[in-house]
C-alpha cells in the first residue's frame, strides 16, 4: 500500500512524515512521530484529550486526517514550553493542582492556549465555555478553571511574567 508523504510545520519546525490516507492526525503524531503527549480518549471528537492547534484553530486531532495537515502549522503539547521555562498555563496548572490523573491535561492546556490566544482576559464563563469540549473526570473543573484564569492574569501582568521566567 502506498503511503502519503506529508510536510508540515510542527511546533515551529518544518518536518515531514509518511502516513496512510485513512490515518488521523492523532495517529500520525503518536504512531508515526512518537509524540505521545497528545492523548486518545474517545476517537470520536467528544472528549478533547487529543486537542491540538491547527493554523491557530483548536481541533480534535482524531477528527483530522493526517494528509490534511500538508503545508499547515500544527501545535501540540510538546511545543508549549520554551527551552528553559514553562508556558504560564503550565505553571498555573502545576501550582493550582489543576489535574489529578493528568491524562486530559495536554488537551486542556491546548484548549486553554487557543482560548487565551484569541481572548487574553476571559471571564470565568468564557473559560468554562472555552474548555467545554474537554472532558476531565477527576477534578470537577474547579481548579482547571481557576488555573486558566490565573494564567491569563499572569500573562497580562508584566511583573508576574518576569517572575515566571
Amino acid at each position: 500500500m502506498s503511503r502519503t508523504h506529508v510536510t508540515c510545520v510542527l511546533n515551529g519546525d518544518e518536518i515531514d512524515f509518511l502516513c496512510n490516507d485513512y490515518q488521523t492526525l492523532l495517529s500520525a503524531l503518536r504512531d508515526e512521530l512518537g509524540m505521545i503527549g497528545t492523548k486518545e480518549g474517545c476517537g470520536t471528537g467528544d472528549c478533547g484529550a487529543c486537542s491540538v492547534i491547527l493554523d491557530g484553530q483548536l481541533v480534535c486531532s482524531c477528527l483530522v486526517f493526517a494528509p490534511e495537515v500538508e503545508g499547515r502549522r500544527v501545535e501540540t503539547i510538546e511545543g508549549l514550553a520554551e527551552v528553559d521555562h514553562l508556558h504560564p498555563l503550565q505553571d498555573s496548572f502545576l501550582e493550582g493542582a489543576a489535574f489529578q490523573c493528568g491524562v486530559c491535561t495536554p488537551g486542556f492546556l491546548m484548549a486553554a492556549k487557543a482560548l487565551l490566544d484569541r481572548n487574553p482576559s476571559p471571564t470565568e464563563t468564557e473559560v468554562r465555555y472555552g474548555v467545554a469540549g474537554n472532558l476531565c473526570r477527576c477534578t470537577g473543573y474547579d481548579k482547571i478553571v481557576r488555573s486558566i484564569l490565573d494564567a491569563a492574569a499572569r500573562m497580562s501582568d508584566p511583573e508576574r511574567q518576569k517572575e515566571a521566567t
Partner: protein, 751 residues
Amino acid sequence: MTTTRTGYKWVGTRPVRHDGLDKVTGRARFGADYATAGMLHGVVLRSPHVHARILSIDLTEAAAMPGVKAIITGADLPDIPDETGTGSEGGINFRDLSRNILARDKVLYEGHPVAAVAAVTLRAAQRAAEAIEVDYEILPAVLSLEEAMEDDAPVLHDDLFTLGLDSPPDRPSNISRRRVIARGDLDAGWEEADVVVEREYTTKAVHQGYIEPHAVVAETGEDGRSTLWCSSQGHFAMRTYTTKVLGWEPGDMKVIPAEIGGGFGGKTTIYLEPLAALLSRRAGRAVKMVMTRSEVFRATGPTSGSVMRIKMGARRDGKLVAATAWMAYEAGAFPGSPIGPGVMTVLACYDIPNVLIEGYDVVLNKPKVAAYRAPGAPMAAFAAESVVDELAEELGIDPIELRLRNAVTEGVRAVYGPKYRKIGFVETLEEARDHPHYSAPLGPWQGRGVASGYWFNFGGETTATVSINEDGTAVVMSGCPDIGGTRAALAQMAAEELGIDVHRIEPVVADTHSIGYNDMTGGSRVAFAVGIAVVDASRQLIDDMCARAALIWDVPREEVEWVDGRAQSVTGAAAPLTLEELASGSGATGGPLSATVTVNPRGAGAGFSTQICDVEVDPDTGLVTVLRYTVVQDAGRAIHPDYVEGQMQGGAVQGIGWALNEEYIFDRNGVMENPGFLDYRMPVASDLPMIDTVIVEVPNPDHPYGVRGVGETGIIPPMAAVANAVYAATGKRMQDLPMSPVRVLEALSGD
C-alpha cells in the same frame, strides 16, 4: 477553605506535585503510550447478542489472512474451579473472571469477548476479527431487575443458586445472593413513630468514565516469562488475576505500572491483560491492545443500576426509631454487585434502634459491573437521604438539625455491626449548617438540598521503602499507582519525618519485581496505609542514622537526637551531622541507608461528608442547573489540601453527573445505544459552578498524622443533595435517576 494548623513544616502544605512537570509537558507515559519494536496489535471480537449459546467458532478464514499471527478463543483458557476468594464483596471469583474475559459456551451481554486476534497491523487484526465466523443460538434475555428476579425468568447461569435464603433453593435463579441486616424490634419501632415515609427509588447503570481507555502491551518470552506494561489501580493484582486466569505462575510475570488516566474503581480488574499475554505467547512477539471508547462502555465497568424501597419512621421530636430498606442491585452478567456495601452503608449515618435491611445481588444480560468510587453507597444514599429530607419536612425540622439529632458518634454501634471509632460526622453537619451557603437567598425556581454520606475506607497490605542517596536526597518507593496526587502526599510525610525539603524526595511507584506486595489503589487507602509504612520506614532510618552518628562520635545512642534533618548531640559534644554527611559516609558506618516496612493496618478512619446544593429548574425545558455547591468532608488530616479538595470536588461532580445526566441506555434488544461521550453525557466545565470545599479535620488516631481516606466519600451525597434541591425548587420529589430534562418535565407536568 482549609483549617490552618501549626507545628508541621510539610504536612498540610501545597507543594507542586513531583509528577506534575511530566504531566503538563506531555511526557508522562500512560497505558497506551508504550510501544516495543516489532510489536503486534491485538483486537477483540465481541458478541453482537446479549444472550446466546455459542454453537461454533470457525477461525479458518481469519487465521489464513495476511499478517495474522495468533487467534485465541475461550477454549484456549484453562477451566478454573468455581470458588470465590475469601472476603466479603472484595472476593473475586476467578471462574467468572475468566468467563468474562473470554466467553465459553454462552455470551451474556452485547460486547462479551468471544475471540482475540493479534496481527502485524491494527487493520489486519480488525479484518481478521471480522472474518471469524461464530454461529450463535439466540437465547431469551433479561434486561431489568424486575424481569431477572421473576420466578420464571430466563436464567443466565444453570449453576447459580441463591445464597442467603432461609431455606436452600431447589432451582437456579438470577439472584445470586440475599444479604440481611437486622436489629431491634421493628414492630415496636413503627409503634413509636409519629411520622413514617416510604418510597421507591431507581437508578441506572453509570460508568466510571475515566478518560484513558484500557490499554496493555504484553511480551511473553520463549521461556514463558512475561512482562506487562499497563495502567491499572494495582499492578500486583493485575499480575495475580492475569496469571490465575492463564494458569501461569505469578512469579513469571512482571507488571510495570504506567501512569493511570483515571480509574475510580474501574481499573481494579482485568480485561485485556490475559488476552495480550496469551496472544504474545502464541505469536512470540509483543502484543499491544487498546480499547476503543465504545468497548470501554459496552464491556467494562459500569456500576449497578438499582431498585430500592426505603421506609423510615421518626418521633415528633425528630428521633429516628425504625427503618427498613429493600435493595436490589444489578451485577451484570456475573454475580458481584456492590450490594454488600450498599446494605451496610444505607443507614450507616444514623443511630436507629430498629432496622431491617434486605439486599439482593442480581445477574442479568448486561456488562459485569466493576467497582465505582464508594461502590454501592451512592445509590443507597440517594434513597435514604431523600427519605430523611421528606421526614424533616413532615416534622418541620431543619434537615441538618434532623440529621444532627440522629447522627452516629464515637462509640455508637453501626447498623452493620462494629462500633464507630473517632469520627467527624457531626462536625461536617455543623460546618454545613454554619456555612454562608446554607442561609444564602434563593430566587424563583431555585431550591437548596442537603445530603450526607458515609464510607468505611480501607487499609490493606502495603510495602514501602525509603532510601537515602549519597547527596542526602531520598527516594520513597511504593507499589500503589498514583491516581490523584498520592506520590506528593507520601513525599510530604517523609519530608516531615526526615526534616528535608519535600522536593529533595523523589516518590516512585515501583513495579512488581522492585518492591514487595501492595494491595490496589482503592478503598481510599494510599495516604492512610502507605503513609503509615512510609512514616515507619522514615522513623527506622532516623533511628539508624542516629545510631551511626553515635558510632562516629563514640557516644551512647541516647545522646543523639534527630532535629531538622540532622543528627545532633544532646550534650553539644559534637557538631551536628547532616543527612548528606551521614549518607556520603554510610559505607564506613554499616552500609547504605534504606528501610523497608510492610504493614497491613487496621483503623482506616471512617469518612463522612455533608453537601449543600443549589439548583435552578427551567420549567419550560426541565433542565436542572447547579448554581452553587459546597462539599464538607472529614479528611482526618489533609496532607496536601489541594488534592484533598480535588477528591471532594471530583467526587461531587461525578455524583452530579449521576444525578442529572448519566445513564446506560439500552434498546429493546439490550444493545447499548449511547456507548460514547456524546450521548453518555458526563458533566463539562460549562455545566458547573465552582465547587466550594470545607475540609473538616477530626484526626484519625490510627494514623501518625491523622489521615482518613478521602477519595470516595465525596461521591455519596450528591444525588440526594441534587434531588432534595430539585424538590425545594419545584415541589416534586424525583425518585428515579437521572433527573434528565425529560424526567423533570414529566414530573412538572403532573400538576
